[in-house]
């Protein structure tokens, strides 16, 4: 992870760590904090705790998002302080609805100059985000839509359950917009619970979400999504999400947390060790196997 972040994430970049509640690469966020990146534009549908940590650590100058909160808990206080009180400085924001964010990635992934959606009518959102503009259908009906511009992150970081060493990555469970964000990005880091043999990927090609052709680095980082979850591997650590509310409310507590859990640790491996085996054991679900399908051998 150190090498991937060092080589692929640069000051001033637009970075998308995607994953809708599921498979959020906290490990990458922490490494970006540790390496002291600055002036990043952080894009994500739902900034979640990981971006609160990154904003709290001072890596970001701007946020692009569609819903900024601690899901199921409440607010993200480090981000709110920056927006409401410019404390310790202002944070530029650019906001959409969920579908608007998704379509920005789709446009970026598809090399389209705009993407039409039936959102934003009679809302104040286009008044505060001038990138959202109305357009008429060129067909007879002349239906009005809005369009959003493509989002092409410099770097997308996607956590997957597994990938081969080339980066062909498979995901099951919630898919969010990781595929779209990865295809839209210039550089892609794939982080996985397990690096597996290419033959495992090739046995079930319909499960592959991200192909190696767009991947620049593959990092194996077990528990790299904690406190978010990896379907089938571990549960969301809800106690952490709840605890974060108190931690982030006070800048000093937040700094202390960053020192203890990010700066003073060399890597996510240290974090996993420090968290302790009991914690990981308590988050492990019982098995629920998918069953197999038969692709047939056509030789």
């Amino acid at each position: 992870m150190q090498d991937a972040v060092r080589e692929l994430v640069r000051d001033g970049d637009t970075v998308s760590i995607e994953g809708f509640t599921h498979l959020i690469s906290f490990a990458a966020g922490h490494e970006i904090i540790r390496q002291g990146r600055r002036d990043l534009t952080l894009a994500r549908m739902t900034p979640d705790v990981v971006y609160d940590q990154m904003v709290g650590a001072g890596v970001a100058k701007k946020l692009i998002f569609s819903w900024v909160g601690n899901p199921g808990v409440g607010s993200l206080h480090a981000i709110r302080r920056r927006i409401e009180d410019e404390d310790p400085g202002p944070l530029e924001i650019e906001e959409y609805s969920h579908f608007g964010m998704v379509c920005r990635y789709v446009a970026g992934a598809s090399n389209l100059p705009f993407f039409p959606i039936r959102s934003y009518f009679e809302s104040d959102i286009p008044k505060v985000n001038l990138k959202i503009v109305p357009m008429r259908s060129p067909y007879e009906d002349g239906t009005e839509v809005y369009v959003v511009p493509p989002l092409r992150p410099d770097v997308a970081i996607v956590h997957a359950q597994r990938a081969d060493a080339n980066g062909d990555a498979q995901i099951w469970g919630l898919l969010g917009c990781q595929k779209e964000a990865a295809f839209a990005a210039d550089r892609v880091i794939v982080v996985v619970e397990e690096v597996v043999d290419e033959s495992v990927i090739r046995r079930d090609p319909n499960r592959t979400v991200i192909p190696s052709v767009i991947v620049d680095a593959v990092v194996e980082e077990p528990f790299g999504c904690h406190p978010s979850f990896a379907q089938g591997y571990y549960d969301r650590d809800n106690a952490f999400y709840v605890a974060w509310d108190d931690i982030a409310r006070d800048p000093e507590t937040l700094d202390a947390w960053l020192k203890e859990w990010v700066y003073d640790l060399g890597s996510h491996r240290d974090y996993v060790e420090k968290m302790g085996a009991d914690r990981w054991g308590s988050l492990r679900p019982e098995p629920a196997p998918s069953g197999e399908v038969d692709y047939g051998r056509y030789a």
Binding site: G72, E84, H98, D124, T143, G173, L174, G176, D235
Partner: protein, 261 residues
Amino acid sequence: MSETSEAYEAYSPSEMMIAASARQLGGVRNCFVGVGLPNIVCNLAQRTVAPDLQLVYESGVFGARPERLPLSIGDPTLVTGAIAVTSMFELFAYYLQAGLIDVAFLGAAQIDRFGNINTTVIGDYAKPKVRLPGSGGAWEIAIHARQILVIMRQGQRSFVDQLHFRTSPGHSGDPAHDASRGWWGSGPTSVVTDLGTYAFDEASGEMTLVTLHPGVTLDRVRENMGWDPKVSSDLGETLPPTDEELRLIREELDPEGISTK
């Protein structure tokens, strides 16, 4: 089920809101579920008035069958055993924008008399007093679902005469304009609060008090909203939660009382 003691019958305002909302889902085929109260409402409806109700989540899950009360709309328990999991593009494009969703739920920091909703900021957008989460899927839900249920506690700060920011639109106040929009829905169709239930008047598009919850007075309603409410000519009383509804809520759906206190 046989127990009907007075203690049991002393239901909470949340339980009243849940029961009143669930009854509105009778016969509904599918429902776009939010977390918290809406989640319990849908699960209660599935066990009472809408046994075939399919639960759809904006995280990309269709036909969820959660084994525990989900902590968020992205809880892994929603995925395991679901009918389908899809990308968010497809969920928003093919299900929601295409008009496949019958009923959805919205919450709000502020709502006005026409069902316009603010979930973005309290105060000025550029320098907000409180930065709220923003739209999320709310804009799309507000217009693309055919019916919208709003569940929220009411008060002077939430039921306002003038929104600080209009995140998603409700009725325009002009029914001719509403009809010409060509949307699947047209903002909230029903509001359930801790004090009563509201519908929206067809002619004016205005929120109209339809029932008061047992023990609630019209004055108390007026004290807890920022405008003088339209009241239905045949204002009734909401039926209290039944023993069966309370039993399901307390024993099956929220045994720890997370959302129903």
